[in-house]
Amino acid sequence: MLWFKNLVSGMNLWLPAFAVNILFQFLRHAYVDGIIFSVASVLMILEWKKLLPLSFGARPVFRLRWIILVIIACATVLYVNPRHSVQDTWVLLAVLPIAVLLVYYDEEHLNISYDKPLRRSFRSYMGLGIFLAVVELAAYVISDRVHNSEDFPTVSFLVSPTLEHPEVRFIFLVIWMAMGVGLMQVLRGRKVVEAVVHVGEVGAAKRDLVMHADDDSEVQP
């Protein structure tokens, strides 16, 4: 059992959750969804085992006006086009590389202590999230068994009809993208923007210094 202990040592608990999810997606013949979570799982394993040393520099931060502009532009595309159109897919696919870019930034030192309020909040949100996921799964399984989504509605069953209206689609996309901005913390206020710019400038100055040092060593006999 020691080899197993070593194998799973340091594993992120999202990974088994994704494994169950992948199995579930393939069982319900949602192959695209299964592939999406499979690719993410592979990336997580590569990151966990330090097999993909990928980083796109310091965490990028953006001004509020640019974020609003992008959100409005994306929401407008969804508003003017019918649901499930090619344009919708392009918007979603365009967001993907930005999201990847915002995941692979340089590791930062975390200045947060895992104190009692944080522990309490973290556990509460996690517990409620798991509870919601279990309710959704139960609704899906029961509605599938008894062929009755009316009485055992999943979130998709409740939300999907409303998304046929362009106005609702617009609002949902704004909420969804705002959630993304919040999760990736790319809007961090003027002070943080300045701090990140400063870190970038310090990095550039260090690189210049190294380059000059190399040049000097080449000139010297």
Binding site: E47, D88, Y104, P117, S121, F122, D151, G180, L183
Partner: protein, 67 residues
């Protein structure tokens, strides 16, 4: 719609209301609950977790708007 269906609505709504209450408490009683931005920063500190959370977020958009 059966009366039992309302239970499902309650099962979806109650956790969301509870999350809203925790978010609110984080703002007015910081000694009890941390602010949601602090929780997000703590959760997103690990890159593997970031990959998972961003995947779930992106998939939600994909599922509702495009899939």
């Amino acid at each position: 719609m059966k009366p039992s269906t309302y239970i499902w609505y309650a099962l979806y709504l109650l956790p969301l209301i509870a999350m809203f209450v925790i978010w609110w408490l984080g703002r007015i009683k910081p000694h009890l609950f941390a602010r949601v931005s602090t929780v997000v920063e703590f959760v997103m500190a690990k890159r593997t977790t970031r990959i998972a959370v961003v995947t779930v977020w992106w998939w939600l958009g994909w599922h509702f708007f495009s899939d």
